[in-house]
C-alpha cells in the first residue's frame, strides 16, 4: 500500500450516472488487476475514504509516474462530489487488496462483469491477452443507457457479448443467460473471473462449470486490514475483503443468507 497524491487528468461521464476518471501519480503499489484504491474526498464532513476498483493502470508496479483509470457510479455524496471534480489532486491509498491471479486462467478464460463490476475486468482482460490467452467477456447492464466499455474490450481483442436486463441492447436477460452451457467444446472456457453485484455473483457461482475467481464488495472502514469492518466467512476461516480479498476462489466461498 502507498499513500500519495494523484493529479486529476480527466473526469468524464461515460454512461448514466457513471464516470471515468484518469489520474496521474505514483502507481508503484499497483501490482495486479482486481486491486482497488481508497480515495479521500476533501469536504469537511465526509469521513471515510471511497474504495474504487482500478480499471486500468499504465506503469503499474513501476517507479516514477504512471496513470490510473477508475470508473465509478454516483451513488451518494462522496461520488457526487467526485463527479464534479475537473482538476486538482486526490489523496489516494493505492495497491489495496489481493487482485486476480492470471496464472490459473488456462487458454480460454471467461470474464463476467455486471454494472460497475465491469471496470476491474478491463485491466484483467488486458493482462490475460498480453499473456497470449483467448479472452471472452460477458458484460451485463440494466439498460442501454448504462452500458460502457463494450468497444474498449473489443479493441483489446476480446470476444464480447453484452446483455441488458430490459433488452434495450444486446441479448435480453442476465449474464448467466450468455454463459456457455458447457465448459467443453468450441465455445467453452477453461476458467472464469467475475465481478458484480452479489445476486449476480451467486447466479454465476451456480451457472459456472469450471473453477474461477470472484471479486466481492463490502462497506469498508479503512481498506487496508486494520478495522475488521469488512470481514466475511469463508471455507478456510474469516477473511477481510479489503486485505485477503476482494478476490476469492470459487471453492472457498461461503454464501451467507
Amino acid at each position: 500500500m502507498k499513500q500519495s497524491l494523484f493529479e486529476i487528468v480527466s473526469n468524464i461521464q461515460i454512461a448514466e450516472n457513471v464516470f471515468k476518471m484518469v489520474l496521474s501519480g505514483d502507481t508503484e503499489a499497483v501490482k495486479k488487476p482486481g486491486q482497488f484504491v481508497n480515495i479521500k474526498i476533501e469536504d469537511g464532513g465526509l469521513f471515510l475514504r471511497r474504495p474504487i476498483s482500478v480499471c486500468d493502470c499504465e506503469n503499474a508496479g513501476g517507479s516514477g509516474k504512471g496513470t490510473l483509470t477508475i470508473i465509478y457510479k454516483v451513488v451518494g455524496k462522496g461520488t457526487e462530489k467526485m463527479s464534479r471534480m475537473k482538476s486538482g489532486t486526490l489523496d489516494i491509498l493505492s495497491g489495496l487488496g489481493n487482485g486476480y491471479d492470471t496464472s490459473l486462467s488456462g487458454e480460454k478464460p471467461l470474464l463476467i462483469g455486471g454494472g460497475v463490476g465491469v471496470p476491474p475486468l478491463y485491466m484483467l482482460a488486458k493482462k490475460l491477452i498480453s499473456e497470449g490467452k483467448k479472452v471472452s467477456v460477458i458484460l451485463g447492464f440494466n439498460k442501454k443507457s448504462e452500458i460502457f466499455f463494450e468497444d474498449e474490450f473489443k479493441r483489446l481483442g476480446a470476444s464480447v457479448k453484452t446483455v441488458t436486463v430490459d433488452g434495450s441492447y444486446g441479448l435480453r436477460g442476465y449474464v448467466t443467460d450468455a454463459m456457455p452451457k458447457d465448459a467443453e467444446g468450441k465455445d467453452g472456457y477453461t476458467y472464469f473471473y467475475t465481478c458484480g453485484p452479489e445476486p449476480m455473483l451467486k447466479a454465476v457461482y451456480k451457472a459456472s462449470k469450471t473453477a474461477g475467481q470472484f471479486s466481492f464488495e463490502e462497506r469498508m472502514g479503512c481498506g487496508f486490514g486494520a478495522c475488521m469492518g469488512c470481514s466475511c466467512r469463508t471455507i478456510t476461516g474469516s477473511k477481510r475483503i479489503c486485505k485477503e480479498g476482494p478476490v476469492m476462489e470459487k471453492e472457498e466461498i461461503l454464501w451467507e443468507d
Binding site: C222, C227, M228, S231
Partner: protein, 303 residues
C-alpha cells in the same frame, strides 16, 4: 526524558500517543507503513477468551465527520493472540504494548487477563467494559458502577500489571463509574469508547448497519470526549487516558489540558494511516507555538 514524555501508571512513555484498540490490529499491519516504535505504545485489538467472528456485515457506516462501526470484537481468541499475534508483534515492536481485553462475564475478563499476564510484552491491561456492539457483555459492565467494580476487582486479583478500565460514554453519570473503578483498585481510566449511534439508508429505508446500531467515532465526537475526560480526571486521582475524535497535535494538547496523561487515537488511523507518526512529529512545533515546555507540565492545566 524528552519534552513529549509522560508517565502512565509507572511506565514511562516516550510520548503520549497511543493508537486505540480496534483501529491498529495487532500492530504489524502498520509496521509495514512506518516504524511503530516511535509510538508511546498502542492498544491491541480487543481480545476475548474465545475466538469471535463478530457481527454480520455491513458493519461500517459513514457519518458527518465520523463513522459507525459494529464489528463486535472480532478477534482470534486469547490463545492465538499469545501463540501467534504477540510473537509476530515482537518482530516489529520492542516497547510494552497495552492489552485490550473484553468479556461476557466477570470470569471471562479474569481468565483472559490471567492468560495474558505472563506475557512480558504486555505493559498494561486496558479492560473494555464499554463495547456497544455485543449483547450481554462489554458495555453492560460499564454502565453499572457495581458491575464495573466487580470486573476491576477480578482483574486486579490475577495481575500485577497496571489495570486501566475503558469506560463507555453511554451512561448518565460517567464519573460514578470511574470512581467505582478507582475504589476497586483500578490503576487508570481510559475514555471514551464509542457513542451508540445509527444511520438509515434512504434507498432501502433500513438501517445501514446489519446490527442496526453501532459505535460512533471520529472527529465529530471530540467535544463530548473532551468534556468527559475533564469531568473524570477532576474526580479521580489515578491517570486518565483521553480519546474520542482526536485527529491532530492540537487535539492532543487539548485533551491533556483537560486532564489526560496520555491520548489514544482511533478512527483517524483508518482514514489517515500515518496520522500517529505525523502527530508525534508535529507536536514539538505546536508546543512551541503555544509556549508549552513539556507535555507532562500541562496535564489538567485547564482546571
Amino acid at each position: 526524558m524528552g519534552r513529549l514524555s509522560v508517565d502512565l501508571c509507572g511506565i514511562e512513555l516516550e510520548n503520549p500517543i497511543i493508537p486505540a484498540s480496534g483501529t491498529f490490529g495487532y500492530g504489524y499491519e502498520f509496521a509495514e507503513l512506518y516504524d511503530i516504535n516511535i509510538l508511546g505504545t498502542f492498544s491491541f485489538k480487543g481480545t476475548t477468551k474465545e475466538e469471535r467472528f463478530g457481527n454480520p456485515t455491513p458493519r461500517i457506516a459513514e457519518c458527518t465527520a465520523g463513522m459507525i462501526n459494529a464489528v463486535g470484537l472480532q478477534n482470534p481468541g486469547v490463545e492465538k493472540v499469545i501463540s501467534e499475534e504477540l510473537p509476530k508483534l515482537s518482530r516489529c515492536f520492542n516497547k510494552k504494548v497495552m492489552a485490550n481485553v473484553s468479556g461476557f462475564s466477570v470470569d471471562d475478563y479474569a481468565y483472559t487477563c490471567e492468560r495474558l499476564d505472563s506475557c512480558d510484552q504486555i505493559g498494561w491491561f486496558e479492560v473494555n467494559v464499554s463495547c456497544p456492539n455485543v449483547h450481554g457483555g462489554g458495555m453492560s459492565f460499564g454502565t453499572d458502577p457495581n458491575a464495573a467494580a466487580d470486573v476491576t476487582k477480578a482483574v486486579k486479583r490475577v495481575t500485577k500489571k497496571p489495570v486501566i478500565m475503558k469506560l463507555s460514554p453511554n451512561v448518565t453519570d460517567i464519573v460514578s463509574i470511574a470512581k467505582a473503578c478507582e475504589d476497586s483498585g483500578a490503576d487508570g481510566i481510559s475514555l471514551i469508547n464509542t457513542l451508540l449511534g445509527m444511520r438509515i439508508d434512504l434507498r432501502t429505508k433500513k438501517p445501514v448497519i446489519a446490527n442496526k446500531m453501532g459505535g460512533f467515532s471520529g472527529r465529530a465526537i471530540f467535544p463530548v470526549a473532551l468534556r468527559m475526560v475533564y469531568q473524570v480526571s477532576d474526580a479521580v486521582k489515578i491517570p486518565v487516558i483521553g480519546m474520542g475524535g482526536v485527529s491532530s497535535a492540537e487535539d492532543v494538547i487539548e485533551m491533556m489540558l483537560a486532564g489526560a496523561s496520555a491520548v489514544e487515537i482511533g478512527a483517524a488511523n483508518l482514514v489517515e494511516p500515518y496520522i500517529c507518526r505525523d502527530i508525534i512529529e508535529k507536536l514539538p512545533e505546536i508546543m512551541d507555538k503555544y509556549k508549552i515546555d513539556t507535555l507532562k507540565g500541562i496535564i489538567g492545566g485547564a482546571k
